[in-house]
């Protein structure tokens, strides 16, 4: 590449560099400096380890996001495979309905969880009639879990369906001809075939759950997930430095998880050809 071309290319790359700097580099740099400017200085970064409240919040968020990811993948694989392989009346409408929550803000999802499992909710009314006791779990981890799974399914189901369509049916037939039971076919053929899609959509699901705020804000009266903790530090306690440090920690953990998933997917793709 000669100098002249390099010159042209650097002009062409300038707009994206500007956007990158304005919307990513500068805010991140600012966040880092703000995080270090509090009473604790750079120790704000380790505060989440030493302060039980932050650590609990972090662990709760990771556990919640991981279990939401696992549950969402399990539900989506079953329903995605079913929707891809069966043609029935109303199939298209059903797919459209399943993808409907994509448009909902987190607050609406939280509101729906309350209507289902809140103090005036459907589940509460039914359990009162049946058992005489109201079952209310909307404002707990269970409610949050339900809400997160609900808004995660559409993203994952669509990816799984696209991947399932590309599976070679002859592979399953070959496995069956060799004596594999339906369960073995799932374990040895279908799941390995879907692995790249599972990892990719699982990573997105995990990252979304880690950072979800609206639903948590609506429901979380007695739970602290990390985005809620950041919000509380920022608005109520005016501890801006701590909020910034926690934000960076949240970002880093999610980023590490996504990268781990990507390298795992990469090796799978290389092995599968």
């Amino acid at each position: 590449m000669n100098n002249r071309e390099l010159h042209h290319l650097s002009i062409l790359v300038l707009p994206s560099l500007t956007v990158f700097a304005a919307f990513f580099l500068l805010p991140m740099a600012r966040l880092v400096t703000v995080a270090g400017s509090g009473d604790m200085g750079a120790y704000a970064y380790v505060a989440f380890l030493t302060t039980p409240r932050y650590l609990e919040s972090l662990i709760a968020t990771v556990v919640l996001s991981a279990s939401v990811t696992v549950a969402t993948l399990a539900i989506s694989v079953v329903s995605g495979l079913f929707l891809e392989r069966n043609r029935f009346a109303g199939r298209k409408i059903l797919i459209a309905l399943i993808t409907f929550p994509l448009a909902f803000p987190g607050v609406v999802v939280g509101f729906m969880v309350i209507m289902l499992a809140g103090r005036q909710g459907l589940i509460g009314d039914i359990t009162k009639v049946l058992a005489g006791d109201k079952l209310v779990f909307a404002y707990s981890m269970a409610g949050l879990f339900m809400g997160y799974v609900y808004f995660s399914i559409p993203r994952v189901v669509l990816t799984i369906m696209a991947a399932a369509e590309k599976l070679n049916p002859a592979l399953e037939e070959a496995a069956r001809s060799l004596g594999a039971s339906p369960w073995l076919v799932v374990k040895d053929v279908i799941l390995p075939g879907l692995k790249p899609a599972l990892i990719a959509s699982g990573a997105i699901c995990f990252a979304t759950a880690m950072g979800a705020f609206g639903t948590a804000f609506t429901l979380a009266t007695d739970i602290d997930v990390l985005p809620m903790t950041i919000y509380t530090e920022f608005t109520l306690n005016a501890n801006i430095a701590m909020a910034a440090a926690l934000s960076i920690v949240l970002g880093l953990i999610t980023w590490v998880a996504l990268n781990a998933a990507r390298s795992l997917a990469g090796s799978t793709v290389a092995a599968a050809g």
């Binding site: 070679n168 037939e173 070959a174 001809s177 594999a180 390995p192 075939g193 092995a271």
Partner: protein, 349 residues
């Protein structure tokens, strides 16, 4: 090595849910150890037949599939003990060569030592021992199909089912693997059912060939019967190259627009005469049964393929080992050998 299983199809028809008839009721016996080739153009029902035998499709109610006289119609494929080889190889990409071959043995929970011994035997038989630790994406098409064959026969299936196994390979590999498959089938003595649209493959491999067309059996016979005595025009046209000339039979000759061909038959009727390229001899115009003009000639080395115009309704294809260099526009005579066939004119093809 593997004891053969006889296969019987009894009134097996297949109608798909959308109402298309893929297969008219078919009854057919395959002897143990026999290699039967189902041959026909795409959509003729050959693959459907194979899938019914495999257990991947069930025949319409009333149809039955028997293995050694035992009704297996309701037995799912995983319990039928059949070996399958696919056009797309269908090797498991998440397993290496050895694991692929061992898969059926693993499913059957064969003890490790016995399984390893059997895998080794299969790899040796297919000449792929050196590839045993390779990943599937590191193999060529020919190697993949060898692995697929090894995987299918490792479980000692009752019947080996091959669905266009050579179609995805290039010509040279196809020829080599075909020879190897032929040797393998003879050596194992296994009952094999082979589906293809390639008549050369069918001729080379089949003890018997079932030619199919539009869900019906057009003819069943040995490769020689199919080639030399096609029982209808579809078979005659589908197998090899066939020339056709219309004419009128009377007094031991067939009169055509381009000349008169001797014929050892009775009766008087409009007929269509069919003969193969190698059945024609080129001679001087005045000595031939038919006369025509050379349109083009392709020199193939050991022989020359000459396209002759004006001797029939369509051009005639002649193959000759004559060293003469045929030129466009050259007038030639054609002698029709005795191995010609006649069909009453107007018979449905």
């Amino acid at each position: 090595m593997i004891s053969g299983t006889s296969v019987s199809l009894v009134e097996c028809a297949k109608t798909f849910p959308d109402g298309t008839r893929a297969l008219s009721p078919l009854s057919f016996e395959i002897e143990d150890g026999e290699t039967v080739v189902f041959l026909g153009p795409s959509g003729c029902g050959k693959t459907t037949t194979l899938r019914i035998i495999a257990g991947l499709e069930s025949p319409d109610p009333g149809g039955r599939v028997l293995f050694d006289g035992e009704d297996v119609t309701q037995v799912p494929i995983e319990l039928r003990n059949v070996g399958m080889v696919f056009q797309s190889y269908a090797l498991f990409p998440n397993m290496n060569v050895e694991q692929n071959v061992a898969y059926g043995l693993k499913v059957r929970k064969l003890p490790g030592a016995e399984s390893a011994r059997r895998v080794r035997e299969m790899l040796e038989m297919m000449d792929i021992v050196a590839l045993k630790d390779r990943e599937i994406d590191q193999l060529s098409g020919g190697q993949r199909q060898r692995v697929a064959l090894a995987r299918a026969i490792a479980v000692r299936p009752r019947v080996l089912l091959l669905d266009e196994p050579l179609t995805a390979l290039d010509a040279l590999l196809r020829e080599r693997l075909r020879v190897d498959i032929d040797a393998l089938l003879r050596r194992l003595g296994i009952t094999a059912i082979y589906v293809t649209h390639d008549q050369a493959e069918a001729m080379a491999l089949g003890d018997r060939i079932v030619v199919m067309s539009h869900g019906d059996v057009a003819q069943v016979g040995t490769p020689r019967q199919i080639y030399f005595q096609p029982s209808n025009r579809f078979v005659a046209d589908f197998i090899g190259t066939m020339n056709r000339v219309r004419g009128f039979v009377s007094n031991g000759v067939v009169r055509t627009d381009a000349g008169t061909i001797p014929w050892n038959g009775q009766g008087e009727e409009e007929v269509e005469v069919l003969f193969r390229p190698e059945n024609l001899t080129i001679t001087e115009p005045e000595r031939g049964h038919l006369t025509g003009v050379v349109e083009t000639a392709f020199f193939l080395g050991d022989r020359t393929r000459v396209i002759v115009r004006g001797a029939g309704d369509t051009v005639l294809v002649v193959e000759t080992s004559d060293r003469h260099e045929f030129r466009e526009g050259e007038k030639v005579g054609l002698i029709v050998g005795p191995d010609m066939l006649t069909f009453p004119d107007g018979e449905a093809p």
